[in-house]
Symmetry: D2
Subunit: 346 residues, 4 copies
C-alpha cells in the first residue's frame, strides 16, 4: 500500500481521482485538500462516497502532503507551480493533472495562460505522462505532467500517421467535442443545464489552450522531426456529462499504406487503446467511466483524406484515470490495477 494525497479535491477531476483511488487495492488516500471546503467531509459534498470515505478536506499543507508517497494535483493552472517545488525537493512523487508542466517552452506557456510561469526550474524534470509514448520515462519520473483531455484523444488518433510521416503534417484538422464536465465544476451561467442542454456549439475557435501542447507533442512524434506541425483545432461543447470525441482529418501522402493494419499494430500491446474493426466507429458511451480509448480509421470514397475518430472519457483517460495509470507505472504496479472496470453502458 502506498499513501497518496490529492490537492484540489472538490472539482470533477478530484472526485474522479477519489472514485478510482478509493477502489484501488494498493492505495490509501490519506490527504485531500481544498481551501474553500476545509473541514468539510468529502462525502457531504459527493454523496456517492457516503459510507466509502471518511476523509475531511484540509487546507493544502506541504508537511502533510510530504507524508504521502505520491501527490496528485487536480488544481487550476498556477497552483502546482507554487506547491510542487517543496514536495519535489523532499523526494515526493508528483502527478500534476493541470497544465503547469505540460508545455516545455515557458514563454509559450505564458503566452497562452496569461501569467508568468511559476516554476521553470522543474520543466526539464517533468515527463509528459502519455504512457503510449513515454512509458519508459514515466517509470523513472518524479514529476509527471499529465496530458490534457483533448490532447490525449487527438494524439492517440494521430500518432500512427505522424510517427510514420504518412501525412501532410502542416495541414491537420481536429474537430473535437467534449462533455460539459471538461469545463469543470464552476458556477458560470454558460455551464447551466438550461444553457447547455439540447444545444451544441463550437467555442474557442480562434485558439484553445490545449493547442500548443498538442502541436509540441505531435512535432516530437514525427519520424522526421523537422517537419512542421500545424493543427487547426476546433473544440465544441456537447450536452453530455462525460466523453470526448475527436474527428481528425489529414491528407495522406502515401495512398498504399494499410491504415487499419497500421493502427492495429501500433496499439496491439496497449491496454487502454482499442482499435475498432474496419467499418465500426466508436461512441463516447463505450468508454464512459473507463480508462479505455477507442479509435477508428477510414478513408472515405477512397480519396486521400484520412479520417480518424477517437473517443475517451475526459475525466478518466483524459485526466484522472490517466493519472492513476501513470501512478501504476511509476510504482511498478500492473498498469491496469484499479482501472480494469468496464465502461458503463447503457
Amino acid at each position: 500500500m502506498i499513501s497518496v494525497g490529492v490537492v484540489g479535491g472538490t472539482g470533477y477531476t478530484g472526485i474522479e481521482l477519489l472514485r478510482l483511488l478509493l477502489n484501488h487495492p494498493r492505495v490509501s488516500v490519506d490527504v485531500i485538500t481544498s481551501r474553500t471546503e476545509e473541514g468539510v467531509a468529502v462525502a457531504d459534498i459527493y454523496h456517492n462516497l457516503r459510507g466509502h470515505c471518511d476523509l475531511i478536506f484540509s487546507a493544502p499543507d506541504v508537511d502533510n502532503l510530504a507524508a504521502c508517497d505520491i501527490v496528485f494535483f487536480a488544481t487550476p493552472h498556477g497552483v502546482a507551480h507554487q506547491l510542487v517545488p517543496a514536495l519535489y525537493d523532499k523526494g515526493i512523487k508528483v502527478i500534476d493533472l493541470s497544465a503547469d508542466f505540460r508545455i516545455k517552452d515557458a514563454t509559450l506557456w505564458e503566452h497562452w495562460y496569461g501569467q508568468p510561469h511559476g516554476c521553470e526550474s522543474l520543466l526539464p524534470e517533468a515527463v509528459y505522462g502519455l504512457p503510449e509514448v513515454n512509458r519508459e520515462a514515466i517509470k523513472e519520473a518524479q514529476l509527471i505532467a499529465c496530458p490534457g483531455c483533448y490532447p490525449t484523444a487527438i494524439q492517440l488518433g494521430l500518432l500512427p500517421l505522424l510517427e510514420n510521416d504518412l501525412v501532410d503534417s502542416d495541414n491537420l484538422i481536429a474537430s473535437a467535442a467534449s462533455g460539459i464536465s471538461g469545463a469543470g465544476r464552476q458556477a458560470k451561467v454558460d455551464l447551466l443545464h438550461a444553457e447547455i442542454s439540447d444545444s451544441f456549439k463550437a467555442y474557442a475557435v480562434e485558439g484553445h489552450r490545449h493547442l500548443p501542447e498538442i502541436e509540441q507533442e505531435l512535432q516530437a512524434a514525427q519520424k522526421n522531426s523537422k517537419k512542421s506541425v500545424k493543427l487547426t483545432f476546433v473544440p465544441h461543447l456537447l450536452p453530455i456529462i462525460r466523453g470526448i470525441h475527436v474527428t481528425l482529418y489529414a491528407n495522406l501522402e502515401d495512398l498504399s499504406v494499410d491504415l487499419q493494419a497500421l493502427y492495429e499494430k501500433r496499439y496491439a500491446s496497449e491496454p487502454f487503446v482499442d482499435v475498432m474493426p474496419q467499418g465500426f466507429f466508436p461512441q463516447t458511451r463505450s468508454v464512459r467511466s473507463s480508462n479505455m480509448s477507442r479509435l477508428a480509421v477510414a478513408r472515405p470514397q477512397g480519396r486521400n483524406t484520412v479520417v480518424v475518430t477517437s473517443v475517451i472519457d475526459n475525466l478518466t483517460k483524459g485526466a484522472s484515470g490517466q493519472a492513476v495509470q501513470n501512478m501504476n507505472i511509476m510504482c511498478g504496479f500492473s498498469e491496469q490495477e484499479g482501472l480494469d472496470h468496464l465502461a458503463l453502458l447503457p
Copy 2:
C-alpha cells in the same frame, strides 16, 4: 470460482449482469444465450466489452445451462416459466430477474400479465429476493424471484413504517419516476430519444404490473398482517438513462415517533441501504451504476403526512446488482463482493 449462465443477454439487464459478473472475482460467466443473436460475439453488440469478453451468444439450451452452478434469467415474462423447471430438477440454482415467480397468487399473475401462469408448481419454492427482508431464506433458496425495480425502491422506503404499523396502510401513495432503460431495449417509437428527451409524463396511471407485487410484499411486512394495504402507484418516465426515484406519502398514526432514528436503526447493518441525514434528500445520480439505495424521510410542516424519498439504479439494485447480491448470499460470498464500486458521479 462458480460457473454462471445468463439467459437473455441482449437486453439492458443482461448487459448490466455481464458488467457486474465479468468483474466479479469469484465468477466465471460461461454461457450467455439469445435466440435473436445466436452466433454473434457479445462484444460486437456491446462495445464496452471489447477486450474483456470472448463470449458468443448461443441459443438457450438446458444441457448447456445445466453445466453452470447458477443461471440468471434476464428475459421477458413467460420465458422462465418454460425453462426453469428442467434446471430446477437438475439442482441448478436459478435467479430470475423477470416477473415470473414474484407473485405468489397465480391467478393474480394471470390477471396482470394476460396469459396463463406457466409454472405454478415452483411458486412455493421461489424466494422473493429482497435481501433486506429475506436474507435468511435466500441463503437456502434454489430459486430466487428477484424483485422489480419500482418494488425495490418502494419497499425499502416504506418497510420501516409498515413493519411498525405506524401509518394508515390503506392510503399509501407512491409517485415514482424511472429512467428510460427501465423500459428495456425495444424498438418502439415511444422510447426514441426525440420522443423522450426534454419531456416528462406519467404512464400506466390506471394500473402498472408492479402494483400487485408491491402490495403483496407490503402486506406481508406489516406487524399486524391483517391490516389491508392499498397503494396508489403512479409511475413516470424520466429523460435519463438510469435511476429510479420514488416519493412516498403516508399518513402517520403516531406523531411521536422519531422517524429519522427509526430509519437509521432499521438499515444500520444493511450494506446497500444508506439513510441520508435529516434535511438531505437523495439524487438518482448518487447511486448511478452502483447497488446502493439511498433514502430520506421527512414530515413537512410537522403535519401528519410522512414523505420518504428513495433512489436506486434501476438496472443495478433494481435488477442485476440485486441479482448478484442474491447470488453472493446463496453462495456464501461476502454480500458486497463484486458490488463495491462507487457510483459514477458526475
Copy 3:
C-alpha cells in the same frame, strides 16, 4: 398598439416575455431594464433575437417606465415592492411576475421570504392573475400578481374537485416536477449541466415558498370555504429545460361523481386548458413553448384516490405567457392574441 416596459429582462422569464411580446401584433416593447447589463444590446445576450430586436438594456427608471401603458416585472422578489408604488400612483398598469403581491397576508409573506414586506398598502389592490378563476377581476385590475409556475399547474388540476367540495381537502398531495429553467438564470453549481443532467431529485421537501400561495388560493376556491386546506407539496427537479408536471392525489368523498365530465365541463370554454380524453395522460412536451395547460384525471383501480396530472410550460403558462394572457384581458384584446402558436414538438 400599446407601449410596454419590462423590468428585469435578463432572466428566463424576461427573455420569454420578449419572445412573446415581440411577436404580439398589438404591442410595442419600448423599455427593457437591467441593472447589470445596462447599455448592452438585448440581442447580444440572447442571439435568437438578432435581427428582431434593437432594444438596449437601461437602468430601471420610473419616469421611463411611466411612459409605457403596461409594465411587467420579471424580477427577484422584493424589487416590485420598491418600484411598483410610483408607477401605480401614475396610473400605469403593472403585471408582476414575482411573488411580491401573491400572498394576501403580509406576515405570511415575511415568514416565507425572510424579509419585511415592502408594499403592504397595495396588497388589497393586487388581483391574483389566474384567468381561469379571476377573469372578471383581471379586466378591471391595475395591478396583477401573476401566479407562480407550480401554483398554476396545481390549481388548474385541483380546482374542479375543490370548487365542488368533492375531496378531503386537508389531505391533498402534489408531487411536482419542474424543468431547470424554473430555477432561473443563476450562476450556481447546483444548476450546472454536469450536476442536473441524467439525474432527478426532490428538493425543498420541508417547505417550498409556493406552498402558502397555493393553499391560500385553494382555500378560497372551495364551495365551503371554511374547510381547511392542507397540501403536502414536494417539488422535484427535472433534467429538462421547460415544463412542469404535477401529479395530484386526493381522497374522494363521493365516489359517484363522473370526474371526466366534471373536468371537461369546468374547462369547456377555457382557451388555455385542455382536458385529455379518458385514458390519455399529458406529456410536458405537448405544451413546450405554448401557453396551453393540459390535464388528465383518473381513479386507479376504481379506488377512492383520485389522481390528476397537469402540465404547463413553466416559462409560458407558468410565467410569461400567463402574464401576456393577463395583459390581453386587461386591454380588451382577444385572450389568445400573440399566444396562439403551437407547442414545439418534437
Copy 4:
C-alpha cells in the same frame, strides 16, 4: 388563402410542416395523408395539435391531392417518384422534401439510393429549392426539390468562398452534427433514448447520401465551374432533438480577403441568414424552431485554414421551414410569412 396538401404526415418533417402551415395566415391545410394512420385524427398522435387541427389522415389519393394548390411530400425516398407525375400533369405545384429530385444525375441517384430512379422525366423541371441561390427560378417553378438538412447548412457556410474561388475546392471538409430528429420517427434500437442520450458518435463516415447533392451544388456555385469539388463529409449524431451544426474547413488561396466582410455582404439581404459578428459563434439553440440559419467565419491563428460554423434547425430551415419559404416565393407571398416567429430559447 391557398389550399395545401401534405403527403406523409406522420414523420417529424410532416408534423413540423403542420406546425408552420396551421399558423400561416394565407394557407388552409386541407389534406394530410398517411397509409399507416388512415382514419386517425392527427391530433390524436400529436397532442400539441389538440384544439388546433381537425384533420384526419387519409390514404394518399391523387384526386384528393389534386384539389390542392400545392402539395408537399414529406415521405421516404421513392414515394414522390411515384405520385408526383400525376399531380404535375394536372398543373399542381409540388414541393418535395425528400431526396427524389435533388440529384440531377439519375445514375448517381441510383448508386446512392440503391434503387432505380422512378421519375427521370421530371428531373429537368425540378428546381433545387435553396432560395439563397435559386430564388428567381423558384418563383417560376412547378416542382421544387427541397434541399436536405446537412446540404443546407453546408452550402450556406461555403457559398461565399466558392462563389469567389477563394479556396482549394478539392480539399473541403465538413464535420457535421445533427440532432436525432434528423433520423426520423422510426422504431429502431439505435435511436432509443437509452442509446443516444449522454453519448456522441460519427456515423456513415464512409459515405452519407447527402454527399453527392452537396458536391453537385457546390460545383455549380463556383465562379470557375470547371474546378473540381471534393468534400470530406463526416456526420455525427447529437443527443439533442433539433439542430444541425457544421464546422467547415477549407484552405484559403488568397489570404488578403476580408472574410467577415465577404460573408456579411453575401447575405446582407437574406431574411434567413444571419452572419455573427467577428468573435461570436452560433449555438444550435439560437435557431431552435425557427427558419433562421446563423453563420460565423474565422481564421484561427491567422493561418490559411478558414473555419466556418453554420447552424440551422434541421426540421425547419433544414426541411419544413425551407419548404414553406419556397411556397411563399412560389406564391408571391412575403418570404417571411408564417416564418417570422423567434427561436425558442432557452
